[in-house]
Assembly symmetry: C2
Homo-oligomer: 401 residues x 2
């Protein structure tokens, strides 16, 4: 029997306890041993819940118990998660976390500490919820040099964009709806401004290049400026607006960006709707590969954590090599990204042509007093230069091929 502890009995933590119980026998076969949760760390008590007899309030009870081999961290946030996780690894315990903030900021350090202590630090649930993506990058596509990773990695904003598209309603209304359903938090900034997606693409980039990608360096544009009018234009073009996180190889580095894109129907991410996520990768030998599934949700995310537990149980005596050094990756300048751009402006078409050269006009029913057009393909830098020549621009959205 392998004894485990869960730190944080919120949605995901309680999901982990539930999955371990529901699929106990299958999991035991795959892990080679039964997994038993001995402690659950939480500030709260759960008086009428059978979990109460496992509740502890001091993380040192877990760190100091030599019986505990595997620790699950599902508290979220960098502190105190970081202090707790470090204590567990230092005490020679394997750790899995669903906490993208912790992984994005401290991943390299915790991986190095785990290696030193001959245990594992895993984080399958930190990106893409129930979609296997961390292990596929660490253990499957390892023969490839990655040319590109592009994903819909934030379920909240994808739900919101899908609703705006299907119902034609405006941003604020959809946000309220998403908050009522529990898909968006009270303070939705991290989701809607793309910071959450930025942390996730930073983690994925770190894994494929083997160096630390700081999420603060990622150019991030959210969806809060997208309006019902933009959606109307998108429909006119037969396109969908999706918040993409994208990382593309530029020589020995990567250019990384989070921004809304207009996707054509032929794009592999076009039909990824609602709270589903998908991550598309392009390797120099495997070509295009896509992973699709539930990007969030109690059970799918808990399932990803449990798959880490099984993997750690199978490697209870061994550190699995992960190539993610603390050496900082100097990101390539994102302004080298080349796209077409959709532009809305309170301006004359003649002025737009003067500023941008060849453009394709786009009209949407019921929208007057402005022009809409798509530019030729150009770099971000080139676009900014040209946009400065056209006063009256009220919107720009990147156009994916």
């Amino acid at each position: 029997m392998i004894k485990a502890a869960v730190m944080g009995y919120g949605t995901i933590g309680s999901g982990v306890v539930e999955v371990l119980s529901r699929n106990r026998e299958t999991i035991a076969k795959r892990a080679g041993d039964v997994i038993e949760v001995k402690y659950v760390l939480d500030l709260r008590d759960f008086k009428d819940d059978p979990i109460q007899k496992k509740i502890v309030h001091d993380y040192r009870m877990i760190a100091d118990d030599p019986e505990i081999a595997i620790v699950v961290e599902t508290m979220g946030g960098v502190e105190p998660a970081y202090t707790f996780v470090k204590a567990m690894l230092t005490a020679g315990k394997h750790v899995t976390t669903s906490n993208k903030a912790l992984v994005a900021e401290k991943g390299a350090e915790l991986i190095a500490l785990a290696r030193q202590k001959k245990v594992n630090f895993m984080f399958e649930a930190s990106v893409g919820g129930g979609i296997p993506i961390i292990r596929p990058l660490n253990a499957c596509l390892t023969g490839d040099v990655m040319e590109e990773i592009t994903g819909i990695v934030n379920g909240t904003t994808n739900y919101m964009m899908t609703e705006m598209t299907e119902k034609g309603v405006d941003f604020d209304e959809v946000l309220k709806d998403a908050q009522n359903r529990g898909y968006a938090e009270k303070d939705p900034t991290a989701d809607i401004e793309g910071y959450d997606a930025g942390r996730k693409i930073a983690i994925l980039t770190s894994l494929v290049c083997g160096k630390q990608t700081d999420f603060e360096d990622v150019y991030t544009e959210g969806i809060s400026h997208i309006t019902a009018a933009d959606i109307r234009y998108a429909k006119e073009m037969g396109r969908a607006i999706k918040l993409l996180a994208t990382s593309r190889r530029v020589k020995t580095s990567y250019a990384v960006m989070v921004a809304p894109f207009l996707l054509p129907k032929t794009h592999p991410l076009y039909s990824v709707n609602g709270v589903f996520n998908a991550i598309f990768v392009r390797g120099n030998v495997s070509g295009d590969v896509m992973f699709y599934g539930s990007g969030a949700g109690k059970l799918p995310t808990a399932g990803a954590v449990v798959s880490d537990i099984v993997e750690m149980a199978k490697h209870i005596d061994k550190n699995i090599r992960v190539e993610w050094s603390p050496e900082k990756l100097a990101l390539a300048d994102y302004t080298c990204f080349k796209n077409r751009f959709f532009v809305r402006a309170k301006a004359d078409k003649a002025n737009a042509v003067e500023a941008f050269g060849g453009i394709t006009a786009v009209e949407a029913e019921g929208i007057d007093g402005e022009i809409g057009f798509i530019t030729e393909k150009m770099t971000e830098a080139e676009f900014e230069k040209r946009a400065a020549l056209l006063p009256g621009i009220i919107q720009k959205i990147r156009v994916a091929d």
Copy 2:
């Protein structure tokens, strides 16, 4: 430095040598050591090729060389691959293979032998070419009990169905074209009759249930009976015909089948075209997950083999547990599958109603002298019973929701 040998210098074997050379440095970082091919086993000589100096003709040279830690088998077919692989494992060498025939028939035995010898037997490339699917099932979705696996796992037939759909041409013509392009073999039976897909779904089923699924037990229907007329009906219905391999949980076993299905536009596999493959899985905690990519091709398949090499290099001192025992899985009766059926018959509509009850008529332009209809949802067994009451049936194709 880790020394490897490649057995079989055909398309995939030479691809493995190419990938190891092209991405040598990245691979060395991930594997923790440089991978060097010391021998290439082939019956042939390659006089003007630098590979010639590594060519050997006797597999025992490899088995007997203590320097060789990892062996790649890319010869295909059960024998002599089986004899060679067994010798390598017995000699304490890790083995990866792209050979689905070998894995489907001897997988459980070779996994057990590898465990006994404390090495690994891996086969990521045997299903889905460049799509990571074996390791995701073995190491990612391990917290789940799998409810369903459904995939387009044969690139040849998917290319043919896509061509028939896009060009409206008949089966024989498309087959010739596929043979000319090298997508179909001279004897195309294994692909077009669904045996190849049957072997692959048997492998996937074995992995998720942990027992031996014999491909001979899989009900298999190919695409050779699909005609241009069927495609016309499919278009009329807004559907695509795809050869699916599907495995669904029935109590503690699985019902497994390969057959063409009519897919609606909303189906996740609808837009998987050409030589692409995709595998959809449904877990009881992770929900729906899909993997998409190049189902075949020299480099993608070689990339999958190389990912096994990296994994074995990282586990050079350890057998990774794989749950696939030689105990035979008694498959659930496939006739319990419930579907609607599309039927074409030289018969009266009244007789069709008499036989099948509620039906939905389908017409296709330019097709006369027959009726086309879709039945209600019923089991395979029920369908056979009812079909016996309607003389003149010339086609039936299952309809997926």
